[in-house]
Amino acid sequence: MLRFFGKHALFMVVTLVAVSFLVFALNELSPGDVARKELGAYATQEQVDLLRQRLGLDRPVVVRYVEYLGKLFTGDLGYSQRFKVPVADIIFDRLRNTGLLAAVSFAVIVPLSMLLGVVAGMREGSVIDRGITMFATLAASVPEFAMGVFLASVFVVWLGVLPGTATLLSQTGGWSIPAQLVLPVAVIVLYDMGYVVSMIRASMVEVMQRPYIRTAVLKGMSFPRVILGHAVRNAMINPVTVIMLQINYLVAGVVVVETVFAYPGFGRMMLEAALFKDIALIEAGALVAVFVCVLTQILSDLAYMALDPRIRA
């Protein structure tokens, strides 16, 4: 166990360093200049140079990279040119908001997809299976923005039972935060679940054909006991990695939903930072995204080991 964590921690550090350098270098190479962008097209070259100097952009890349790493270790993530605040101030705030959205969505997606996937896969080709498969395919194929607009027009415009934005400010139209979360969560869940359900269903169908299921049935177990006692755990072994990968999407990839509902999240922040070439923020954001990525990798390895005794060795 100790070796497992040691190995993964080492892997994580190596990955983070590599990514930080890559992002740093990429930002250097991409066209456009922070100082020019900051000051606008009408500033004189002198003013631009002055700002570059003040920001330290005139020194070699490697020097600045090392300096950047040093600052990282002291918790200084730099200064956001776009939001005019220290990166640390904004990034953790946004991350917390996204974390809330992601956690709620994940908590709905996993049990619901397991339920639907298992029920669909336990009797391949049955009416229930076909119904669930169709629903899953449909849900996964409607784009997020279309789904967002559709749900908003039904529940906000037509029925008027939910708010159309989720700014997380309690004074927004007097809607509570849970009410604000309903629509964004619904869109994410519908969109993402279609995929996860299909994965679990496919795995379940395969498991139901294994000889050990026959053994269980011929022991005289009832069908529900066969499913719960013998099939589900085996059926979750393969999809577990995919399920954990959803966390990455939920943290860094829900840009569209956040934009549609004006949600102050991490994805939207990254989009704005990228559009504005807010290098410090992009760098910090990329590191956070990679960190989450490696973390879910470890989690899925752990879940994998918990489910399948064959790889515990």
Binding site: L218, K219, G220, N234, D308
Partner: protein
Amino acid sequence: MTDSRGATENRARAPLLEFRQARISFMLRAGEANVIPGLSFSLGAGEALGLVGESGCGKSTVALATMRYLGRAGRVTSGSILFEGQDIARMSEDELRRIRGRRIAMVYQDPMSSLNPVKTIGKQLMEVPMIHEGADAAAARALAVRMLEEVKLPDAAGFMDRYPHQLSGGQQQRVVIAMALIARPSLLIMDEPTTGLDVTVEAAVLDLVRELRQRHNSAILFISHNLGTVVRVCDRIGVMYAGEMVEQGTIRQVFANPRHPYTRGLLDCLPTLGRDKHGSPLATIPGQVGSPLSRPPGCSFARRCGSAEEGRCTTAPIPIRPVPGEAGHEAQCVRMAELEAWLRKDGQAGAVPDGAETAPLVEIAGLRKTYRQTHGLFGDTGKTVKALNDVDMFAEAGRTLAIVGESGCGKSTLAKIMSGLVTASEGTARIGPDQIAATAIDQRPQALKRKLQMVFQNPDSTLNPSHSVGYVIGRALRRLKGLGKRSAEDETRRLLDVVKLSGDFAGRKPHQLSGGQKQRVAIARALAGDPEVIIADEPVSALDVSVQAAIINLLNELQGERATTLLFISHDLAVVRYMADHVAVMYLGKVVEFGRAAEVFEPPFHPYTEALLSAAPVPDPDRQGERIILDGALPSATDLPPGCPFASRCPRKVGSICDTTPPPAQRLAHGHRIACHIEADELVSLQQGGAPERQREKHVRPHRAEEHIR
């Protein structure tokens, strides 16, 4: 116990299980596949009935129909399947569930896949009493431990917390048997329970089944393609063909006087330990089982039957009739009375052709292969696995060298080194003038590749399903012989002819071929480069006996015509006896005995050879010798004992010298050698005295699952 005896007598009047004109079909897109057209047989309480026949004969369908587990497509369309007087085909799901696992239990072919990989053995065992008897966990656990002890697993309590993958194949099958017997069922169905197990493990499992049968008084429906295993376990035998019971009777009746041509065919095509290729070729049954989608109006075997008569055999259904003078013996053949008496094709081993000694073409000397055992990505355990440990043998040009041994003995590693898939750690192997032990396949010159070709066990997985037969053979011809497209096509046709397939097979894809046809294609492909040496790794062990006989004959014929040297790897001693000129018996990476076939199969034997021979199932009720059951597990190949590798399980172990000192290779006549501390003369006198007494106080090595080498 007293009332169970009375109950048995009561039940003896009404059979425990009775099929009455049961007709079973599978509804497929292509139509109704009538797998069982109308089957009647019965099984009394405590009785053991063996069902035999080629694959596709409906044996497994009978087993699963008894449990009514036929999937959504399968159903009993008419007739009945009575178990203890109740019709299984018409029971409700609830009634069925109360019978499954409790009154009828099943043991399956592949124990590894029949056990749930993510649940401990204990949990899987405990489920049965918990479902059926409402036992609490503690009681169920106690029962499970007792059952594991009964199937002779050492440290039964310790096994409870293990997972299936931590057990060897034999141990897994013992667990499945324990799981089946835990509810004391009155009927135990065993579907090929020992197929895929090593010979000595099979012998031990069969012995266990016999013993448990006596103790529990369960009836057994024993399904096997291996006539030898049926003889060991059963009282009666039923021969199935195309879903019909073509002959049934007691073991002795059927084996002494088989009245159906199909039964005779099955018995004739078996190589037995007394026969070899210098005698007569094996009898075969031409053709294959017909499709259940369309049945002929008369006898379904008529198309393949040498005694069939147009008209009488082919127009009307044939009834099953009693064999005159033999109570309980029935056969479904109109010409039953006219057929000549059957004689067991024992045949002696033919005379070995004179002036036989030819120069060795393949010579292997001091060959070693050591793997480093790794664990995960970075974990090197520092242990080494000695897959081959100083191996010497040779094959004469144009002759067959058979390599026998059980799984883990190193025979496949040897084949891999020969074919260049891995390279040896030490030692030499040569073919003619070429040294090959250290040369991987991609470094071998084209001429050398041509010289040596492989035929594998499972033709299903070695033929690419998307390539036609013509393409597979043609590509080998183009690459090995540099033929052009046109001449490759002609040559492909010729090769197909050599392996007795018609030319239009060139256009077929593997899924359109039967197992035997696939193996013929694989042989044709191997022949493409006119090889001097063919390595055949268990080429017939996945095939039905009739097909096996045809492939064996084909290999021998080809050898006769082309003087090909054959390295024949097998676990089946009867096949080896039949095929081989020289035999190497391997155990744990060492050759324990080597010599000419005639000598290896006569005393003196190495004690391991002796155990193997005694364990081999013999399809003859009159030749059931006493078996030597090997105790204990195979020692792990990571820490081999310093002395004789077989010492830990050897029934003839002489003392501590066996554990500490490697045995000398005793050289006898004609290059025959035995690695044993016991003098050859003494071995002869010991072995003519029969099986050794099993040591009372045996030093049993700590039992463990065979080490998983990754």
